[in-house]
């Protein structure tokens, strides 16, 4: 009897085991060991000091000029300019024409001219405006830095407005793109001309430039405020941007990193292909490419977006940075810091404290230079700079500037280190752009700002 019970138990076990095995065989999936991602839970984001940006935050217009019957106006306050930019982003672009021919500003009593500080790829418009059909732009490789808003020429009462995208350097040549926006949007944009409270008068460089013909299309004019420029001057203090999260983001988690210091006391982090040199204020990262294979074939837009994403990945926007240049030949993107809506220029002491530079090779960051400080204002005072008229007159008298070479004139900030090293001054000054780059109109004159408070 006992033997029989034993046999029953064994039989049950065997049946159960065969069932288990059958199920196991049936449902067997090879376990491909997935590598544990993010083994390093080290912080890769500048949570406290940095932020994320979108394309529209990085390519803001720096001047908006309203034309009315031969007079020119611009916003007096940055707040209004910002509001106009927000309004612009709601414009719905329709009937795109990628080969519109030349822009004709004649016979238009009212025009809005929007200047961007950098040459932008035409693909950026899908980030700046509402666009229904992006397909048309796919094959287009063109740039623009100015946008003109004009009445649509046909018919007396305009039912729509045209936007012309123009590359001002290629003056006289064809516009890059033309699109239509609704009449409501166009009228809203021109509304500000009805009551000029918010506007200040501008003068056109071509009007005071004696004997010089303005360019054929009138699309590359330089405008300066006619009256004296009232502007804030700042004292800035620096805050530290921790380098650690950026390092964690740049160095892959499985590589060994050696730490050392060089003769200047800079910290160096190094692997067999990467090197990061870092001191209190700046960092410089370099990725060594030991061969010449596979160059990037990125368009300027792709390059710009890639660089933005790479900086976003560690929340690297520690101040108000904006796109300064994209050089697709060198696969290099540069961002410049803005303060109070104006670009900040560096001198030898403040070199690389207001610039972020990224370059690429083989699809990866090859070089990344940036400041490790961020700035905040601790004191603001008002300064008054020369009027646009005076500046044009003074430039005319300068022997080292060829009048015809001038490509732009504007007030920008100079970032200057004060004696104690942690405090910086932000001094507004007139700058002129020629073929050799930006230079100060009054290089030695610190008293150009007559302080009033």
């Amino acid at each position: 009897m006992k033997k029989e019970t034993m046999k029953s138990v064994i039989l049950v076990i065997l049946i159960a085991f065969s069932l288990v095995l059958t199920v196991a065989l049936w449902t067997y999936q090879p376990v491909n060991e997935t590598l544990e991602e993010d083994v390093f839970i080290d912080d890769t984001k500048l949570e406290e000091t940095g932020a994320e940006r979108e394309v529209a935050n990085l390519v803001l217009p720096d001047r908006i000029i309203f034309h009315e019957q031969g007079s020119f106006y611009s916003f007096r306050d940055n707040v209004d300019k910002k509001a106009f930019y927000d309004q612009m982003q709601n414009w719905n672009l329709t009937t795109l024409d990628v080969n519109p021919g030349r822009i004709d500003l004649d016979n238009h009593s009212r025009v809005v001219e929007i200047h961007f500080p950098a040459k932008l790829s035409i693909h950026v418009i899908k980030d700046l405006f509402q666009l229904n059909d992006e397909g048309q732009l796919e094959e287009v490789q063109a740039n623009f830095d100015r946008v003109f808003l004009l009445h649509h020429p046909e018919g007396s009462a305009p039912t729509s407005y045209d936007l012309w995208f123009v590359d001002s350097d290629a003056s006289g040549s064809d516009a890059t793109l033309q699109a239509t926006i609704s009449s409501t949007a166009g009228e809203d944009a021109l509304q500000v001309l009805e009551n000029k409270d918010k506007l200040t008068e501008m003068i056109r460089f071509a009007d005071v430039r004696p004997g010089e013909q303005e360019d054929e299309t009138g699309a590359s004019n330089i405008y300066v405020p006619s009256g004296p420029v009232e502007i804030s001057e700042y004292v800035l203090q620096t805050g530290t941007v921790p380098g650690k999260p950026i390092q964690n983001d740049l160095f892959p988690p499985n590589t060994r990193v050696s730490r050392s210091t060089n003769n200047n006391g800079d910290n160096i982090l190094k692997t067999f292909r990467r090197r990061l040199t870092q001191n209190e204020k700046r960092m410089e990262y370099e990725w060594m490419v030991p061969n010449s294979a596979n160059q990037n074939n990125w368009s300027e837009y792709e390059l710009f977006v890639k660089s933005m994403e790479d900086i976003n990945s560690h929340l690297g926007w520690t101040d108000d940075y904006r796109l300064n240049s994209v050089q697709s030949g060198r696969d290099e993107v540069q961002y410049r810091m803005y303060f109070n809506e104006r670009p900040v220029m560096e001198n030898s002491d403040s070199y690389m404290l207001a610039t972020i530079l990224l370059s690429y090779q083989q699809g990866q960051i090859q070089e990344y230079k940036r400041p490790l400080v961020h700035f905040s204002s601790i004191n603001e005072s008002k300064a008054i700079l020369q009027s646009g008229e005076e500046v044009l007159q003074d430039i005319k008298e300068k022997e080292d500037i060829n009048y015809t070479d001038i490509r732009d004139i504007k007030v920008m900030y100079s970032l200057e280190e004060q004696r104690n090293d942690v405090v910086y001054s932000l001094i507004p000054e007139w700058y002129v752009l020629t073929n050799s780059g930006w230079s100060k109109v009054y290089p030695d004159d610190r008293s150009q700002n007559a302080e009033i408070s």
Binding site: K3, E4, K7, S8, I10, L11, L14, I15, F17, S18, L21, T22, A24, L25, Y28, P30, N32, N254, T255, R256, V257, S258, R259, S260, T261, N262, N263, N264, I268, K270, T271, F272, R273, R275, M288, V289, P290, N291, S292, A293
Partner: protein
């Protein structure tokens, strides 16, 4: 039939069934593990065959050495024990110089020693007291030098300015040598984590990377492969006293005449290595005599005598 007998019969049949199922299950598991690796290897092999690229027998090492990243010490001066050996060297027939804060040893023989390919190793062993630290790289007759690279963990450190032995050979005679030596940190890496990792790029994958980039052409034969160390950074000015980080790199010899290097960690091809430049740089930096110069200095000395 008795119920008891039926049970016995069932027990036997289920036992057989279970054994069969178990066998099947284990088989399946084993297949999957091996299958993935061998299919990749097979596909590369077919690819190579299609491109008419052959691999010599025994060219691929059977036991994969452990790939790793290693860090040298920040001081590149010769360690004490080597300096002791240098001091003990008989300088009656040669000039012994320690340069760059004991980082470089330069020895110039008064009477050049005749050397052939066969005797080279013996001559060097006799001449350099710490020659065991280096492994032979090759004799470049064009540039008049035999190169030895430092080896660590039985692996060669390819082309590094802080770990070589260059024997200057003029007209078949050794006139002297220049040597540098890296020191390595013992134990764990300063970066934390383990210092060794599995080789990420298998030998066949390294070959495929070279083929895809046109470095290996149809008709080529891979004659040997070995793993060593390399770094893409030489020490910049102002950083002379900082460590090197080396990563494992495959050396792939093609047709027995040219070498290609691929990092075993990430599969990057290293194609800027040039033996000729490496030798001429060292020679000009440490003023090593060329054939013509030797003769002219010899003539000069004769004249002064």
């Amino acid at each position: 039939m008795q119920w008891g007998q039926i049970k016995t019969l069932f027990i036997i049949s289920f036992l057989i069934l279970d054994l069969f199922l178990l066998y099947q299950f284990l088989n399946k598991q084993g297949e999957d593990e091996l299958g993935q690796i061998s299919t990749v290897a097979e596909s590369i092999e077919t690819e190579l065959e299609a491109n008419d690229i052959t691999i010599a027998e025994g060219a691929i090492p059977k036991d994969l050495p452990e790939a790793s990243q290693i860090e040298s010490k920040s001081s590149h001066a010769f360690p004490e024990e080597i300096l002791g050996q240098v001091e003990d060297m008989d300088d009656s027939d040669k000039k012994v110089e320690l340069l760059n804060d004991n980082q470089v040893l330069k020895v110039t023989l008064d009477d050049p020693v005749e050397v052939t390919e066969e005797t080279l190793q013996d001559v060097v062993n006799e001449m350099v007291p710490f020659s065991s630290r280096y492994s032979y790289w090759g004799w470049n007759e064009e540039e008049g030098a035999a190169l030895f690279f430092q080896a660590t963990n039985n692996q060669t450190i390819y082309f590094n300015n802080n770990g070589y032995l260059l024997v200057n050979i003029v007209d078949g005679k050794v006139t002297g040598y220049v040597a540098t030596l890296l020191s390595f940190k013992e134990g764990e890496f300063s970066g934390g984590g383990s210092s060794t990792s599995e080789i990420e790029i298998e030998p066949l994958s390294a070959i495929r990377i070279l083929v895809e980039n046109g470095e290996i052409q149809p008709g080529d034969e891979i004659t040997s492969m070995s793993i060593g160390y390399h770094t893409s950074y030489s020490l910049a000015y102002g950083e002379e006293n900082s460590p090197h980080v080396f990563a494992s790199a495959w050396k792939v010899t093609v047709n027995g005449e040219r070498n290609h290097f691929v990092y075993a960690i990430d599969g990057t091809i290293i194609d800027y290595i040039d033996e000729g430049t490496f030798i001429t740089d060292i020679k000009s930096k440490y003023n090593l005599s060329e054939g013509r110069e030797v003769q002219s200095t010899a003539n000069e000395s004769r004249e002064t005598n």
